[in-house]
Symmetry: C2
């Protein structure tokens, strides 16, 4: 039943975005990385995949589901307690001393230093973090929204140190995961769990409410190994200013704040970004991406080689089981 | 009676900050731009210059004076009405088309564009803005705090366009005005009036409450014409991270927000900065610096030539009269 809800319209994205419809081998319902600007269009997939009749079978209330449907994200203040977080925070501190880990391809260092900036694939490195991805409260909410079993598409820890932590440009994760990883549709949810107190000044996650409802094609061809650049500074896959303005004028911007253990669950197509950390207080967060087992990866739609495993899991799509 | 409150301790700042006291011609009570880090120390000047006996002779209440004394700034939500602002906003829009103005030394363009980023000396260019500096409510509050007549040390308009507007590093204005302009003591107040609605996302002014109580010497020799670089990206005159952290841990950070016409009045030594404008909404603000006529400029303490008139007024120190 995979992708049963897609309109079977075949579009050749190598045709300079002329809008001509051609029968080719490439089925790409979300053409992006184009040579010229193209209009945004309404998403093809539902946001809440569970049908109305079974909507309240999970832990999220009808109101919370409606909120997710409207805004494209939910905030959970102190979803985990500080006690629950302590072990994770301790483990993170230890990683900063782990020389072997710093050699891994999935570990990104701050330029010119030995300080870790991001660790990808944290659930494959650490039992503790692996168990956290299968925490029953978390897993059931995600399954309720996606109406299926799920697996981890990507996991990571971001360190945003005081004074030095740089921001991220506005983007939809789905836009990259579709074009560079071959994720066919929007049936995927991310959870960002803050490991440090989150305030207005240490570069919190900012989201545009309602932006998940439209797909914005982006301009620019994707070079091979684009991820090496985009992990430092994303310039491709960033929507045009006019489209961003339209989204912001309609939905404004929100930046949920809370103590360590708070969580933002957001739809894969919700536009988000963050500013630099101008405070002295670090901001570390944990990031789990849950993809539906009905939405597993195909060949990248941009035509490049698939990105490495640590960015886009192609090794195991077995459904996660709660711990 | 100029500088009567200074301790007459003479310190040679060219001695690599050894702390040795020497009798020289250079009287510098706030040594900065040093070769090595030096400890912060308590400010020598009062914050509220008016003696307690006359404290309530002006428009600011005793509570508001105490707040300014404690925090180093005051926020005035909608100090001017939007109607009052309209004429100024209109005039600003017209400047963007003014080719002659763009040739002026005091007009700074966005690199690589014809867009104006900053206009210095706006009160000398425009009658409307000149009158605004002498607005009685404003002027009386400043005189009340500084207990003297005042003149304009510097005025400017900053444009921070949507998406593109860059932030400013943490700094004390007094640190620069002292070292590069020869402002002897802390008897000076700035007013920042927002011309556009100010929110969490368009790069509002951030201040560290209580930071005005200490002077933080900064590291690094000042090259001639440093202002050409520092107007784009200030790297000199930025306190060290440990000192900043001490200030933030003690006083936190505040970023007052409000509609166009709102005003922040802040002490010349209050640490402030701002983040990039990641929203689509521009943030323009007007900036008037009122210096006491008892605190007029001497030779720059860093030993360089004085900066241009548009940055540091040496032409007229005549007391401002209310309109």
């Amino acid at each position: 039943m995979k992708n049963m809800h897609y309109i079977h319209m075949l579009l050749d994205t190598n045709m300079e975005n002329t809008g001509e419809l051609l029968m080719t081998h490439t089925q790409d319902l979300f053409p992006t990385r184009l040579e010229r600007e193209a209009n945004m269009f309404e998403r093809l997939d539902p946001v809440i995949h569970t049908p109305e009749s079974r909507a309240t079978d999970g832990p999220l209330s009808r109101d919370r589901l409606r909120e997710f449907d409207d805004k494209g994200f939910l905030f959970f203040d102190s979803f985990f307690s500080r006690d629950e977080m302590d072990g994770f925070i301790q483990e993170l501190a230890e990683y900063q001393q782990n020389q072997a880990l710093k050699q891994e391809e999935g570990t990104i260092l701050e330029p010119g230093t030995e300080e870790i900036r991001t660790i990808f694939g944290i659930h494959e490195i650490s039992d503790r973090f692996d168990r956290l991805t299968r925490e029953p409260r978390l897993l059931k909410m995600v399954q309720q929204i996606l109406d299926s079993d799920v697996y981890i598409h990507q996991s990571r820890i971001n360190y945003k140190p005081g004074f030095k932590g740089k921001g991220f440009n506005w983007h939809s994760d789905f836009e990259t995961w579709h074009s560079e990883d071959g994720m066919p549709g929007m049936r995927c949810v991310s959870c960002s769990i803050v490991m440090t107190d989150n305030n207005e000044f240490n570069g919190p996650l900012m989201l545009i409410p309602g932006s998940h409802r439209n797909f914005i094609p982006c301009v620019g061809q994707t070079p091979e190994n684009n991820y090496r650049e985009s992990l430092k500074n994303q310039t491709l896959g960033v929507p045009g200013e006019q489209d961003l303005k339209r989204m912001m004028d309609r939905g404004f911007i929100e930046a949920p704040k809370g103590p360590a253990g708070s969580m933002i669950m957001f739809e894969c197509n919700t536009l988000h970004g963050s500013n630099s950390n101008m405070s002295c207080w670090p901001r570390s967060n944990l990031f789990f991406v849950y993809n539906s087992v009905e939405n597993t990866l195909e060949e990248p739609y941009c035509g490049n080689r698939p990105r490495p495993q640590f960015l886009a899991n192609r090794r195991s799509w077995a459904p996660l089981k709660p711990v």
